[in-house]
Symmetry: C2
Subunit: 410 residues, 2 copies
């Protein structure tokens, strides 16, 4: 059961003019499962993307990066399969992904470099490209503008809940819409989570703003979550602007309209990222880590990730056991060479647990226990070294995580 | 059940002249459990030690470091308690540890700075120093030279098997003996494992060699194991030389005698370190990671630790599932910026799994499966970048790990 996360209500996930989505069953996953999703984009849609920093980049990631690095990419379709990551598959994996793009392009009278491929699933197994190619006509034929929610389901792997959010904002009197979907539940670590994320808006935004926008949105959302510290080979996040709304073209972020749109884009990105943690494999707790008093953002991040990746901290959260010395230990080994343990403060929600590196005199374990039993927990660590602070999101480590990942392919 | 590790046979764990060990039940742990161990050292014993690199150093670690950093430490006793780590306890924790040292010194007519304190157990709870002080006379009265095996049991926390090894070597016709004990099963990560390790030899070794020797031995053993990536607040490893044997004094490592002794010391340290992994919390597999073809030792280590800390890799080993793309993914995110995925080779024992970053054409999953089912597995990763290679040891991640750490204090 995900933590405080329910399935999207299709009536609240709004279509984006300029984007149609088709879904089919290619048989990459078990028969009867949607595993192929196609986005069809009207001419003129602008795109920005960010991709995994894993040096073992999946074949589709390599192709996407090379297409989006071109001077004027004119992307008109995305092809997304689940069930196979097409990673660790070498040159033949790349050839297989290119064959899928070419087949899609032929059906749509496009060039192959107008199609971006995405894959997610098992690593190091050959992509069953022929099955995908066979199912393309069905997916294309089915494409409609109101299939976002269905697409959120069709890109799931070990996710238990589909992840889709929409938001409308008014810019100079004109309504614009943002809709996004994402998948991911394990192999989740900054830069980036094992995830695919697709965000679209009908707002008019200059094409050259989109790549830096994708980076900024990812940094504020997907790069602040971690489930297990495993950075996937396939992470991909796209932002698409279809320019179908009537707002004045946004050419920089320095005015009210732009800020309102940016805030809404950040909000949808953050909701998607948090949804991934809420639905993390086996998670029973959603944990916000707020690190303050750092000299730099980088050291806040080190501390947050040390806590978030500690199996001992994560199992203590699972057990609702306020064995909070484990958090202090993680702060201690996070890699800040000149950390002064006598300045560390630790709070669980508003319960002051440790001060000056030592247990608070008036801390009572029942208070810690009460917070640890909640499904949502805020951990605040004060480093006492400076003015920087930062926030990350993670989850606990349960028996279910082990079961899911031990049995993933069986 | 630990992996290929049986309890020490007391008749093969040899006493070290100059070292007597006494054990008592102080009541820090549950009644009826040995939890206090005292080493009594003859005058003139030389000591070298290495301690946790966690910035949150436990009180006893701070005291040990300050005593051993003195110009001529004359240590005559070690006091070791389990059940409480005396970490995250601030100034009062340090005062409590000092009171234990002072009480020990008074009973033995020593100065307080001739007593080294060690603690292991729960973090951030006040040390029940009075219970320990009350039990000191019993421990001292019981001290004998043949209590090494019993001491290996009395320093255990979540260990399921006591860890003790002995070795005899002949130096210029004179027999010398090495005996070591260690504890540790979780919170195990280089620099160092959550462990206490005590190694003694009756060999004559110059006092000034001992500190660098402790570092070298730790680097080749305890700093090459990881269970969960959590570096403890209390890690301590001591090497003691009692000078009771008749070998010619070793003043440098440049002759045959010295090399023979060094090899034996390394062997005992490695056996102790590997025993910790074999007995790791919930472990069902003992995994040797051999990384070759690195440009530097540092990058071999990065790759080994990325694999060893990946919950996805660890759960795949637990399930005996040759989902080996997870290993490639970990290599990819290990932090080598200019890694070329098309040069990566992967072997499971002698089964060639991936070549040039891609699945081998003739790799058959049954072969991978066969190796994954073994209790001892060698993973070899070739980076194809240089001539450096290195070896680390780790284990799988099982349901039992979660259970042990979720229920640690209950």
């Amino acid at each position: 059961m995900p933590v405080q996360l329910s399935a999207p209500n299709p009536s609240q996930i709004f279509p984006i003019p300029g984007v149609n989505i088709g879904i089919a069953q290619a048989g990459v996953k078990r028969p009867g499962k949607d595993d192929l999703t196609i986005f069809l984009l009207d001419e003129g849609v602008s795109i920005g993307g960010v991709f995994t920093k894993n040096r073992f980049k999946a074949a589709p990631v390599q192709i996407c990066e090379s297409i989006l690095n071109a001077v004027t990419p004119c992307v008109r379709a995305l092809v997304i399969n689940t069930g196979n990551a097409n990673a660790g598959t070498g040159e033949s994996g790349k050839a297989h992904a290119q064959m899928v793009c070419k087949a899609t392009a032929d059906l749509l009278s496009l060039e192959a470099d107008q199609v971006l491929p995405f894959s997610t699933g098992v690593i190091m197994e050959p992509l069953p490209f022929q099955k995908i190619i066979n199912a393309l006509p069905t997916a294309i034929k089915n494409a409609t503008s109101d299939a976002w929610t269905k697409a959120a389901y069709s890109i799931m792997t070990t996710d238990t809940v589909a992840k889709a959010f929409s938001k409308k904002v008014t810019l100079s009197g004109e309504e614009v819409t943002i809709t996004g979907i994402a998948k991911g539940a394990g192999m989740i670590h900054p830069n980036m989570a094992t995830m695919l994320g697709f965000l679209a808006t009908d707002a008019c935004i200059s094409a050259e703003l989109l790549k830096p926008l994708a980076l900024e949105l990812a940094n504020l959302s997907f790069n602040r979550i971690t489930v297990d510290g495993d950075t996937s080979t396939n992470d991909s996040f796209l932002i698409m602007a279809t320019h179908k709304a009537s707002n004045p073209m946004i050419t920089h972020w320095g005015n009210d309209d732009a800020q309102r749109l940016l805030d809404a884009l950040k909000e949808v990105s953050k909701l998607l990222a948090q949804a991934i943690v809420r639905d993390a494999e086996g998670a029973t707790k959603f944990i916000t880590l707020h690190i303050q008093g750092g000299q730099t953002l980088e050291e806040c991040k080190k501390v947050a990730l040390a806590i978030a990746h500690s199996p001992l901290v994560k199992t203590a959260f699972f057990a609702s056991d306020p064995n909070l010395g484990r958090i202090l230990a993680a702060v201690g080994y996070s890699g800040i060479e000149d950390l002064d343990q006598s300045k560390i403060e630790l709070y669980l929600d508003n319960v002051h647990v440790a001060t000056k590196g030592s247990r608070c005199m008036d801390y009572r374990e029942e208070e810690g226990q009460r917070v640890m039993k909640q499904e949502e927990i805020l951990v605040t660590v004060g480093l006492g070294r400076g003015d920087c602070s930062d926030t990350f999101w993670t989850c606990d480590l349960s028996h279910e995580y082990v079961s899911i990942n031990a049995d993933y392919r069986s």
